[in-house]
Symmetry: C3
């Protein structure tokens, strides 16, 4: 009897081995899968830091941008992690880490709209408010609605960042905004090039961070195709309408393909992705050149880093490109994200205003930092080294 | 009867399992293998961007270098991908992506020789021409010839980049080249250090990108050993012959070990690699200090970024180091690459010239960019932010 | 008989397969494990380069910092690799590569204390001496002692770097140290921000580089939690005691959580890690603001980059946090590291002194580099390009 059982067992196992072997060549163990995600997750952290350097072009405001970047990350991530793992029953695993840094990226993108419009310590407050707002939209997109296509975050990240940002700056409404000078230098713009080019090449890790293993390589290819299309078309569009290239438009618009492909990264092939990138690049350039100054004049507020032109409109556009695959729910999802973003942004903005807003734009590190000399001139006077504040 | 068949099956399977188990510990599934390549591939994209920053030392030309980098990538990669997958029957997989970015790296290295010598829009034309030329050499090395050792691209990438570049600048032949000023600043050179040091540490991902999984770690070790040897010897050689270090020679020459180890990365051990790196570093330094000005005087053309000194000669040298392993075919391969590079480069250069070359060197962003103030002085006047071109 | 043996074999194999299958989902093959380590290892090389840029704030000394970084790596790594694989019987595998770059990181951190206090060529000498000293401490911690908790290197790397450094500068004792000017510029500090923020996000690859696969993700989470805590608390502490933020304290102190979590990275949960990061950030800031000038006055030597404040004290602290898990051996380990570091550092310092020390601080690239013009002004006169030394 035992012999028969053993024989049966061994036959079953053997069949499993023989017929399972071709399948297993296409599988990765759950631990291996997590370790792959570790590195894609690290790439997204890298991108988070690069978003700060993408906004580093105002020479007198370089250090505040980086300081604020570290503050919002260090407040929002642990708070989001706490809510998710303690109250919403999520596991504290690599998926959670990636979801957390994706949330934080959305926040720092959004911060590009109100930089200089709130005090430094208020970034702690807005980080808390943002986590709540973002969680509402996340629930709306993936729990309330069903079947929304947004694997690469066109809506969840980019569109939400822009419309939350609009809410905040509309609520804050600084008067002297439009004539605050923003001096740039050759090298401050070179830092922006560095950040833009690294964000560009890291982008596939963002759009594929949560895809199943067998969709990662196809997603990498569609993402790069969309990015290449917008890098080429942005040059041609700016050349056509401005004769010369504005580096602070070009370095942003080349990323538009990555923003717009977010909703269809796992749905389209390489050449459809190229087409999507072409449209995204054109739209983003036109937003920077025509829509941006028009909205600024109309609304009297400034989107400091042009977030709406790279993330807002191209993000909504990305959702619409997925309609052939996911249906009309994409429209509901896009409109909902816009509305939730605007409302939660307005509420957050009024809370910030109640806490005492800046009277005017402060695009100068002076608010937060000492070291007047290096900020005033190009070469500082003697300082006592890293340990001595001057 | 069935029982016997089952028994036989299960015995076969079991033997496979028992005796196969030590082997399987040394294998990775095909999907897992692709996901490893994803990250090495991403490192090569990272390197592509860093090549731009390695050439960022001419302060007035910083933004043109980065613009051109994005243009050539966005034109050449999709064109190469199209040819390979549509006409040559290649699969659009991770290997294809890596082959594509390796091609694009070859192009941007080569561009270092003719930067400022053609108009910005002509980079679109030269990218198309380059893809064809590169494909010819790729066919020559790995299909026409048999058994060429070049896993890390000493010939395919480095030597071809340099000799295609020679072809282009010989065809263009600008008159006022030798007295065009190239102002550098401390920080523009610091960007070069950043790029050089990151290229240095990313290099093993380049040389092992297409190696079988079990050769990746040994390849990493030989690559690092060669790089360390050239980083040390370059310091000693420059100190000996110039007393002080020229940072724009040193930051390039420390990479020579990586160039030269390309053909033997999977063939030699760590200490042979160290020896190869020593020779590569010495040769590269001597090329920068002695050969470069001699060729410039002799031929009346300028290799702007010294591509020949880092990629040309050390690339050919790398091929020769593989003769003990691959035989005389290495000589044929090296000579062939030199000839194909020169001829296709000359043809491309004459086409560019026919399209209307610059009358003189334009090592100034002025051709492509607005924003005169930041380029003229160090601190710009007020600008309207990212959305307004000044 | 044969049939019975075959049956037995096949039963054994089948049981192995059936009961091993759930386990194997949590396992990675040894080759796969090495390939994961490849990428974490590359991240540590990335961090090594970033340590150089973290020290790039003295504008006139930027290129010497990077030059020295490449020299110490290229001397110490091959020497350590040689000793380990030729004399101590270690395999030349990925673990060895990671151990080697971890050693080199310890050296470049330590060099932050004596930068400008020895001649450039002396870095070759000190690299050899350091490898011996480091190996002694490595032997003490993990072979002589038993059960020391230090997976992420609080003692092995950070504390040892600082106390070896103290030994060196106490032996060298330059007179005119305290009034050497250290001019910084906006952009030289921006490079420090870049380095600090990338080190911050790469840190988990350092602390988990040698952990077993199943502890990598938990280790990533504890590391990030500790880092976030110190990034937030450092802002609050500096704001409280200085009203404004000194960027050259903040960019260093935000890393303190990563230093201190080193000994407990695989032992504590996310929120305990957050607590450890809070304490680490507070301690590091207080060291920068109060302890540093006090020690400088007391001992008459300068820790140029504030290594003691970020690595020394927070490193020892990290060892102590592991006492609840590893017991009193942590105290022995911490005291031993301090003593071995100081003694070997003193010996090395006296050897360097005997070789002819600088008479004073040389925080100027002038010692090593030509190119006076770009170093003197911000824009250089005409140079002949990368191939011509001016």
């Amino acid at each position: 009897m035992l012999k028969k059982v053993l024989l049966l067992l061994s036959v079953m196992a053997s069949l499993l081995l023989l017929f399972g072997s071709t399948v297993s060549a296409q599988e990765v163990s759950s631990l291996a899968g997590e370790l792959y995600q570790y590195h894609r997750g690290q790439d997204v952290f890298f991108m988070f830091m690069m978003v700060a350097f993408l906004m580093l072009f105002i020479k007198k405001f370089e250090w505040s941008v980086t300081l604020v970047t570290m503050i919002v990350l260090s407040v929002s991530f642990p708070f989001y992690f706490l809510i998710q793992t303690s109250f919403l029953g999520a596991a504290g695993d690599i998926e959670m880490v990636i979801l957390g840094i994706v949330m934080a990226i959305t926040l720092i993108i959004s911060a590009g709209m109100w930089l200089g419009q709130i005090k430094t310590w208020q970034y702690i407050v807005v980080s808390i408010l943002f986590v709540i707002a973002y969680s509402v939209n996340e629930f709306f997109l993936f729990t309330f609605l069903d079947g929304v296509a947004d694997a690469g975050g066109s809506l969840l990240v980019h569109a939400f960042a822009a419309y939350f940002g609009w809410g905040v700056i509309l609520a804050l409404r600084h008067k002297k905004i439009l004539d605050t000078p923003m001096d740039v230098t050759v090298h401050s713009v070179s830092f922006v090039w560095l950040a833009s080019m690294l964000l560009w090449m890291l982008w596939p890790s963002f759009t594929t961070a949560l895809l199943p293993p067998d969709q990662v390589i196809p997603g990498m290819i569609t993402t790069f195709m969309a990015l290449m299309a917008s890098a080429l078309i942005s040059y041609l569009v700016l050349l056509a309408i401005q004769k010369k290239i504005d580096p602070l438009v070009y370095t942003y618009a080349i990323l538009a393909g990555g923003v717009t492909i977010g909703s269809t990264v796992d749905l389209v092939g390489p050449w459809a992705a190229y087409g999507i990138g072409i449209v995204a690049g054109i739209v983003s350039c036109l937003c920077f050149v025509y829509l941006h100054p028009a909205l600024e004049k109309l609304l009297g507020v400034r989107d400091v880093m042009g977030v709406h032109n790279l993330h807002g409109v191209p993000g909504l556009l990305g959702a619409l490109f997925a309609i052939p695959y996911a249906g009309g729910v994409q429209i509901t999802a896009a409109v909902g994200t816009l509305v939730i973003g605007l409302i939660t942004g307005l509420v957050s903005g009024f809370i910030l205003r109640a806490l005492g807003r800046n009277e005017e734009y402060v695009l100068d590190d002076e608010e937060a930092f000492s070291m007047e000399e290096p900020r005033a001139a190009d070469i500082a006077g003697p300082t006592g080294g890293p340990s001595v504040s001057v």
